[in-house]
Amino acid sequence: MALSVKLRQVDEYRWEIPREGKMRTRGLIFASQKMLAKIQEDQSLQQVANVATLPGIEGASLAMPDIHWGYGFPIGGVAAFNLEEGVVSPGGVGYDINCGVRLLRTNLERPEVEPRVGELVNALFGNIPSGLGSRRKDLKLTVPTLHEVMRLGAGWAVKNGFGSKEDLDHIEAQGQIPGADPELVSDFAMNRGKDQLGTLGSGNHFVEVGYVLETYDEKAAAALGLFKDQITVIVHTGSRGLGHQVCDDYIKVMLKAAQKYGIELPDRQLCCAPLSSPEGQRYLAAMAAAANFAFANRQMITHWVRESFEQVLQMGPRDLGLELVYDVAHNIAKIEEHQVHGKKKKLCVHRKGATRAFPPGHPETPAAYQKTGQPVLIPGDMGRYSYVLVGTEQALTETFGSTCHGAGREMSRKAALKAARGRSIIQELKAQGIIVKGAGRATVDEEIPEAYKDVETVVAVAHGAGISKKVAKLKPLGVIKG
């Protein structure tokens, strides 16, 4: 259990699990003293230590401040592996490959939109299929088209009239992870994906209309096109059933591969293969295909968000100004160049419930944000607020350019349902000025605000430790849930 994991305080925001036993490196956790007590209740610290035993790991086995117990890797975990001896693990990415968040800004201000939020929520709910097993009746993809989606990512959507070239400049990796090979994605996965492009799904996925409550850094906010009281939209979803199937398919491959290459596993869910092996290469190419499907999914949803606003507010695209601020992936493994012992080295960085946070001046930070740093989007629970941050040099040197991804659950879904029993969560949120529409009562109840850590405390650690910088705080007005 977690209690057996040794922990040493480094400073106000950093805690170290010293290298011990089969660990090849130390663990480094970003958290406040107060958060740590909660973290120690479950097995997430043991999971940080387990990841540290994997071959070829560079730097520390890292955990962001929203760390919680996952399966295999902890949620909030970051681990980088060298390409020579290192491994790639589907469990280090997760079932929802390229689950991520995008933020749209508008030219609209809160007073003009607030009275129409109910209508907007209804329009969004009507235009974007959500909920358990949601599918699109109007868009069923053939195998060749699905292959093209998986190769081109968000670019496929733009090519087909769903968005603009400018959108692509404001997406991590321009909405297309290189090296995707759709041939390595099973028929099972494609069957699941064929009518799920442009759907939200269930669980913690949502589309949220909100406004800028506060800005912390005027210059950075202006560079991101954000101002106080401005209406914003957040989209949170991933690769749907297609991604889940790719993960499941390759976990089976990796269970065999781990045996074949003699990799000792503390937990079967950590199964992996050397990055240099055919199994490792094949997973990366299939994962990239699923990640591209997710980028296309968020791009398609964005199109229907724009349409919903046009329908309800009877305004044209230019007046609405629904432009993409940025789109980040928070479940992904990427080949990136980092400094290791003073030398540039290619690494495979796993971010499982963690967001890339590249600094100003980094070649992968988009042109528009070269002076501010890459935008980082941290959604909170549906009753409180979300944050916009930017990446920093400190993140690049300390966490392979990574930071937190959300509030992190504090209560199990079971406990959340129990806490919500006998209450109307929708009415409670309405009283706070937030209109929520969900496909099922359970998905709303499981996502009650108190089931999550206050995202403010998570962001305070990321900001305090310097692995990202606060720019703005957004407050929800209307939410559609799966």
Partner: protein, 148 residues
């Protein structure tokens, strides 16, 4: 813990276990076959109210895996696949043939209809984390964590 939690009641088929971000299932059965049948029912019970499902459609299912534990994960993930692709939800499950590497089974249930069925919790996948099948005093018990 209640008796059911310890598997004390011989009638208990399954129980949900709390897990911070996800959900655990503990499943019991007098035989390995019954264990797999109950696992199918436990999964459906997470997704919807099983009692409202009619026995309208029958699906024949065949899954293979390197060992019995992996076979349990493969079985549950195949049921999730059927739900994603055909919106099929099984109410009852019957194991036709079971070896540690191969399962042939039949599921009876129907297509999910949002008008009649309750959408509960969505499940992404059954995982290998803390996966365990053991025989306690002649009774089979399995633990599997679902990613939600």
């Amino acid at each position: 813990m209640k008796a059911a939690a310890a598997g004390g009641s011989r009638k208990t088929k399954y129980r949900q276990l709390a897990h911070t971000a996800d959900l655990g299932l503990r499943i019991w059965g007098a035989t390995r076959e019954e264990l797999f049948e109950n696992a199918g029912a436990a999964l459906t019970a997470v997704l919807t109210d099983r009692r409202r499902l009619r026995r309208e459609k029958t699906m024949e299912i065949l899954v293979e895996a390197p060992d019995l534990e992996a076979l349990l994960v493969a079985w549950l993930n195949h049921l999730l696949y059927l739900y994603d692709v055909d919106a099929f939800l099984g109410r009852e499950f019957q194991v036709l043939d079971l070896s540690p590497q191969r399962l042939a089974a039949r599921a009876r249930g129907e297509t999910y209809d949002p008008a009649r069925h309750v959408a509960q919790t969505a499940v992404k996948a059954a995982t290998y984390h803390h996966l365990e099948i053991a025989n306690h005093h002649g009774r089979w018990q399995a633990t599997v964590i679902l990613d939600l």
